[in-house]
Symmetry: C2
Subunit: 191 residues, 2 copies
DNA sequence: CGTTAACATGAAGGTCGGCTCCGTTTGTCG
DNA sequence: CGACAAACGGAGCCGACCTTCATGTTAACG
C-alpha cells in the first residue's frame, strides 16, 4: 500500500500537475469525457508529454476527477445528515443541491450516468456515499414521507438517469433536468 | 419528394439489402450504436462494400433503424388510444409495454436516450408519437389520475432517462430499469 | 448463349485520438 | 558555478473505424 520513498516533486512539476488538473477539470466539465488530451494540455499550457508524465493514461485523469466528485458528493450527503428539519425536506434539498452542481459539469453527469471509465475505481467515495444515503433515506422512511420500498440502488438509478438527461440537455436535446428531478422525487414519496 | 424512376432492384440486391437490414438490427440491438460496420457485414454474409452500396453511411443505417423504431412506437401509442379502460391504466400499460420491448435493444435505448445520430431525422415518426402521447396523457389528466402539469416533453425526458438506465444495465451497471419506471410513473400521478 | 449493366468484394486509404520517445530545458544540490 | 537527474515538449507512431475503389461476378434480357 505504501508509496515507497516518494520524494517530493520538483517545484515546476508540482505547478504543472496543478495546471493539468485544473485544465482537465475545465475541459471535462465543458466537453464531457471525450475531451481530448491535447486540448487539456493546451489549456494547461504544457505539452501532451507532460500530461502523461503526471497521469499515465487519460483514464487515470478521468478517475481522478471521478474520485474528487464522489468524495465531494459523499461530503455533501454526510453534511445533510447533520442538518435538522423534516427528514424528507433534508433529503430532497440535498439531492437538489447536488444535482444542480452536477448539472453544470458534463463529465460528472456522464460519470454519474454510469460511464465505464469510472465505474470500478472510486470504491472509497462510493462506500461513504452509499452509507450516508442509506441513513438519509432511512430517516425519511421512518417519518413516513418516503416510500417504504425505496433503496440506495433506486437513488443511484435515478441519478444515473438524471446525469444522462442533464448531459443530453447540454448536447442540445429539448429536455429539462429540473422537471426530471421534480417528477422522480415525487415518485419517491409515500402515497 | 418523388424518387425519380427508381427501377426495381436486382433480385440478389434486394436479398442482400434485407440481410444487411436484419444483420444491422441484430448487431445494433446487441452492441448498441457502436456496433461496427464490418461486424454487420459479417453477420449478413456480405462484404462491407455491399453494406455501403445500400446505405451510404453507417449513420444512414442507424437512422433507418431509428425510423423503424419510432414508427413502431408511434403505432403502439396510437393503438393504446383505441383501448378502453381507466385512462391512467391505459397510459401506464402502454409505457410498460413499449419500455419492456425497448429494454432488449441497446441501440434503441441509446437512441431514445438522445444519441445524436438519430436526433434530427425521424421527424415523421416523432410527430405522430408526440400527437398520440399528448392525447393519451390528456385523457389521464382529465380523469384526475395524472398530475396536471405533465407534458409530452416530460415523457420524453423520462424515457430519455429510461433508455440510458437500461443501456447502462446492459453494460453491467447495478441498476434496474423496472424500478426506474415504477418510480417515474408514480411521479407522474396526481397526488 | 452472349452481352452488358448492375452488383459484390475486401484490401487499401483516410482520419482521428490516445500514447511514446528522445532531444532539449530546467530545477536542485554540492 | 557546474553537473546531473528530473521534467518538458511535441512530432510522430499506432490501432481502431469508417469509407472508397479497382477488380471480379452475376442477374437480366434479347
Amino acid at each position: 500500500m505504501s508509496t515507497i520513498a516518494a520524494r517530493p516533486l520538483r517545484a515546476d512539476a508540482r505547478r504543472n500537475r496543478e495546471k493539468v488538473l485544473a485544465a482537465a477539470a475545465a475541459a471535462f466539465a465543458e466537453n464531457g469525457i471525450e475531451a481530448q488530451v491535447e486540448d487539456i494540455a493546451r489549456r494547461a499550457g504544457v505539452g501532451v508529454g507532460t500530461v502523461y508524465r503526471h497521469f499515465p493514461t487519460k483514464d487515470a485523469l478521468v478517475t481522478a476527477m471521478a474520485e474528487e466528485h464522489f468524495s465531494r458528493l459523499a461530503d455533501a450527503i454526510e453534511a445533510a445528515l447533520e442538518e435538522d428539519g423534516e427528514p424528507w425536506d433534508v433529503f430532497a434539498a440535498a439531492i437538489w443541491r447536488s444535482a444542480s452542481e452536477a448539472a453544470a459539469d458534463i463529465a460528472w453527469c456522464e460519470i454519474m450516468a454510469g460511464h465505464p471509465s469510472a465505474v470500478h475505481a472510486v470504491a472509497e467515495g462510493r462506500e461513504r456515499l452509499s452509507k450516508a444515503t442509506a441513513a438519509l433515506i432511512g430517516r425519511a422512511q421512518v417519518s413516513g414521507a418516503m416510500r417504504a420500498d425505496a433503496s440506495v440502488k433506486d437513488i443511484s438509478t435515478i441519478m444515473c438517469g438524471f446525469g444522462h438527461v442533464a448531459a443530453a440537455q447540454h448536447a442540445g436535446a429539448p429536455l429539462d433536468w429540473e422537471r426530471y428531478l421534480t417528477i422522480a422525487l415525487d415518485g419517491l414519496r409515500a402515497r
